[in-house]
């Protein structure tokens, strides 16, 4: 994975353990005119060196670069890749971000066709086709990242590209799991990638008032479940994993991190930006995931929360957890890694799914950083004291999107999967 905490799995996990924050003043562009000037940017990832195929470089944008880098790490780690014989049995499911037009393209467009802010239609008709290059047109497509991943690995089977805002990555993993279960593919490369840290994305969130304006203390701006939380912090990055059938993985001697055991997928149908305080919507996703995995709430040890650090999300999520887990809710370790890496939007669910697998592997629950002022209404065990060594046999990952889409995933330890008759 590629995250604001590191450009691969190991460095990201180490940064989680050491309590680092990935939030800084925005370095990618001059953001000083905006109310929010901080974000969790990916640091020091270059296309040269990441992309071997020089022709592909022309088709890469910052966010498809994140996807290619994270996918490469996943495929290498899995120790298996498509061959001529297996290409049609490999699938790809990606959750991708919504902002595909590059800001410098918009600037050029404005100078060329809208000098005074209004579009000169005659000029656009006459010159528009010469203005854009073919790779530029390709880069702006919502399927650009999907296409680059297919081409790079010669994946020729099933394919899907999803966008349900902040639920995209989680829903992508859930759909990929169903594709493997149904036998539609033997292997699926699945994940999410996004960046909205550009002048237009930042403007959009600032206009909405959804992001924290704690410009003077970036590292504590994201403080999920804290009484003083005041909005999320924009992050960016990508997470990909290789999913395959349990038996096939065992037979080939694969290193198995975890079983992706269940998916719950629901719609809040309440407001575009929030679930209701009662947790309705997320509740159905969590229950659905448990049922799909054949687990009950008793067996879950750790929950990686959506935990965005907005007043409403954290309350709604807390109440959803209470509704599903009852009194057991207080025994559950719940944390939001967005406290350290910000909100990766369409990539969040995929990256946090990987974090659940790592939490199982390393027997460690990540922390919720920056939770210093308790909120009476958010009174669960948020692992605020620091990462917690603990055995994790089953973990949940929540992702809830603008628009009301919810995803909850169940991850099981390899041991628990075996014990349950895998």
């Amino acid at each position: 994975m590629v995250t604001p905490l590191g450009n691969d799995v190991e460095s990201t996990w180490n940064a989680i353990l050491s309590g680092e924050s990935g939030v800084r003043e925005i370095a990618g562009f001059d953001a000083t005119g905006f109310p929010t000037r901080i974000a969790a940017e990916v640091k020091g990832l270059r296309a040269e060196g990441t992309i071997e195929d020089r022709k592909s470089l022309k088709y890469v944008t910052p966010f498809s670069l994140f996807a290619l880098a994270a996918a490469e790490e996943a495929v290498r780690d899995a120790g298996v890749r498509p061959t001529t014989a297996t290409a049609e049995r490999w699938g790809l499911v990606s959750g991708s971000g919504m902002m595909t037009t590059e800001f410098d393209f918009l600037q050029r467009f404005q100078r060329e066709f809208a000098a005074d802010g209004q579009i000169d239609l005659a000029r656009l008709g006459a010159e528009g086709a010469r203005f854009i290059s073919s790779p530029e047109f390709a880069r702006h497509q919502a399927v650009a990242g999907q296409a680059l991943l297919h081409k790079r690995y010669d994946i020729r089977g099933y394919s899907a590209n999803l966008h349900t805002a902040c639920a995209s990555g989680g829903q992508a993993l859930g759909l990929a799991m169903r594709v493997v279960r149904s036998g539609q593919a033997d292997f699926v490369l699945a994940g999410g990638y996004d960046t909205m840290i550009n002048p237009i994305g930042l403007a959009g969130f600032c206009l909405l008032g959804a992001i924290s304006t704690d410009n003077d203390r970036p590292s504590s701006a994201s403080r999920p479940f804290d009484l003083t939380r005041n909005g999320f912090v924009l992050g960016e990055g990508a997470g990909f994993m290789v999913l395959e059938d349990w038996k096939r993985a065992r037979d080939r001697g694969a290193k198995i991190y975890a079983e992706l055991a269940g998916e719950g997928n629901s719609l809040s149908s309440y407001r575009i930006t929030d679930s209701p305080p009662s947790g309705d919507g997320p509740i159905q996703a969590i229950r659905g995931a448990l049922a799909d995995a054949g687990e009950t709430f008793d067996s879950i040890d750790y929950l990686n929360a959506h935990g965005t650090s907005t007043p409403m999300n954290d309350l709604s999520e807390t109440n959803a957890i209470k509704a599903v887990f009852g009194d057991r809710a207080y025994d559950l370790a719940v944390s939001s890694t967005k406290s350290q890496m910000g909100h990766l939007i369409a990539a969040a669910g995929a990256v946090e799914g990987i974090i659940c697998a790592l939490a199982i592997q390393h027997s460690t629950a990540p922390m919720t950083a920056n939770l210093r002022t308790p909120d009476e209404a958010c009174d669960l065990d948020y692992v605020s004291e620091g990462c917690r060594p603990m055995q994790i046999d089953a973990a949940l990952s929540n992702s809830f999107g603008f628009g009301g889409s919810n995803s909850c995933l169940v991850f099981r330890s390899p041991q628990r999967a075996e014990d349950r008759g895998r």
Binding site: Q107, L148, L207, N265, Y270, S405
Partner: protein, 422 residues
């Protein structure tokens, strides 16, 4: 019926008609909705053609007037098709008589084929760009003053999904597919997956797009994809596609759910497929290998033999390479047979993310009425498309089962198998 997914309602809005009946009549009588673009002044444009919705009036298309402030033109078109389909199905009347409508809502999914983002959304930022003259800090300040606070929410690629949920209270599994020209078909395919998996009992499916936006015309033209003369599928003189607007929506249910409520059943979805060619972002491979594979997999999924297929709704987008590849795939799988082949884009234009959903509805009408409309502007069959039974005049389906083929950027191909008898 195997796998049991039935169609209990449908509706569409296209350049050729305000609903399914009007669109069907237009296609049957050889009428095309393609004109010179009229939503802006396209006079003097080298490729002015578009399939726009005629007499577009958002207040007539969406009954909730407050909602119009929060959505864009393509969302209006999508929501209108959903309203038509839901009304057609009678599921709301059914739900409102239930003792437990909550559980009905929780088990109703929403699956959407979405166009993702649009260039036009960014036009709101042209005035602040012009006024700030390249000064990034100044741009931030002006963007905060000039742009509507709800800008980001208006541009969400999952707005139709969100508002279908909010309007009707549906809270089940959902997906928002942003996969260019296969989005509409894939929305049907993924709804069937969740219905078959038992995660939901009924689903609203919609594909929508306003692909013929201002900037799309010059940019599609820049890569040689647009025709300035008209969309002429399989014709010797074909030279590209024409972009258009539209939406198609269906209500799908498990056969059990539909029979239990005594619903009128219009047909069934027997199977589906999505496959990738791994050819890059914009290219399709010559020879139609991806199309053949998509058809074979969909037939396998529906347990159908090629000789049981009664008609083909081809992608037929007027592209030289794509039409020829499709023709090759059809002759390879079905032999030099007399299975009637038709397409609808010559009349409706290419509505990209909507096309698979709209064309599935029209294919269903072909099967139900025993009539396969001709491609009215076909003058001389291209030598590259020989062996395929396309005609300018009407044909008869050979059975009650048909296939719908859709293709997309990223080398994606999809096939849906439909039946009018269940």
């Amino acid at each position: 019926m195997q796998n049991g997914v039935v169609i209990t309602g449908f509706g569409c809005l296209t350049a050729s008609g305000v609903d399914a009946a009007a669109t069907w009549e237009a296609v049957l009588s050889g009428e095309s909705g393609i004109r010179e673009a009229a939503t802006w002044d396209s006079s003097g444009w080298p490729w002015p053609l578009a399939g726009e919705i005629k007499d577009y009036s958002p207040r007539d298309l969406v009954s909730d007037r407050k909602l119009l402030k929060f959505i864009t033109r393509q969302d209006v078109i999508g929501l209108n098709a959903v309203t038509q389909a839901v009304t057609h199905s009678g599921i709301i009347e059914h739900r409102d008589e239930l003792a437990d409508p909550t559980s009905f809502n929780d088990r109703t999914g929403v699956f959407v084929g979405s166009p993702a983002t649009k260039h036009r959304y960014q036009h709101d930022f042209l005035p602040p760009l012009a006024d700030s003259a390249g000064d990034s800090r100044e741009f931030g300040v002006r963007a905060m003053e000039d742009v509507h606070p709800m800008w980001l929410l208006r541009t969400l690629p999952n707005n139709v999904l969100a508002y279908v949920g909010i309007q009707y209270g549906f809270k089940g599994a959902n997906a928002n597919i942003t996969a260019h020209g296969v989005s509409g078909s894939q929305a049907i395919a993924e709804a069937c997956r969740y219905l078959r998996d038992g995660a939901i009992d009924q689903a609203i499916v919609v594909g929508y797009d306003s692909a013929s936006e201002l900037e799309a015309l010059p940019y599609y033209a820049s890569v040689g994809l647009l025709s300035s003369r008209g969309l002429r599928p399989f014709d010797r003189s074909r030279d590209g596609t024409v972009l258009g607007e539209g939406a198609g929506a269906l209500v799908l249910e498990t056969q059990d759910a539909a029979e239990r409520r005594g619903a009128k059943i219009y047909g069934g979805v027997l199977g589906s497929s999505v496959v990738a060619e791994a050819a890059g972002v914009l290219s399709v491979r010559e020879g139609g290998e991806g199309v053949s594979r998509a058809i074979r997999l969909a037939l396998e999924d529906s347990e159908m033999r090629p000789d049981e297929i009664g008609m083909i709704s081809a992608h037929a987008n007027g592209s030289r390479v794509s039409d020829a590849g499709e023709a090759q795939a059809f002759t390879e799988i079905f032999g030099a047979s007399s299975i009637p082949v038709t397409g609808f884009k010559w009349s409706l234009a290419h509505t990209i993310a909507a096309s698979g959903a709209i064309e599935s509805i029209l294919a269903l009408l072909c099967l139900a009425n025993g009539r396969v409309p001709g491609i009215a502007n076909l003058e001389e069959l291209s030598p590259e498309c020989r062996g395929v039974s396309v005609s300018a005049s009407e044909q008869k389906p050979r059975s009650s089962v048909g296939i719908v083929v859709s293709r997309a950027f990223a080398g994606l191909n999809s096939c849906i198998v439909l039946s009018s008898h269940v």
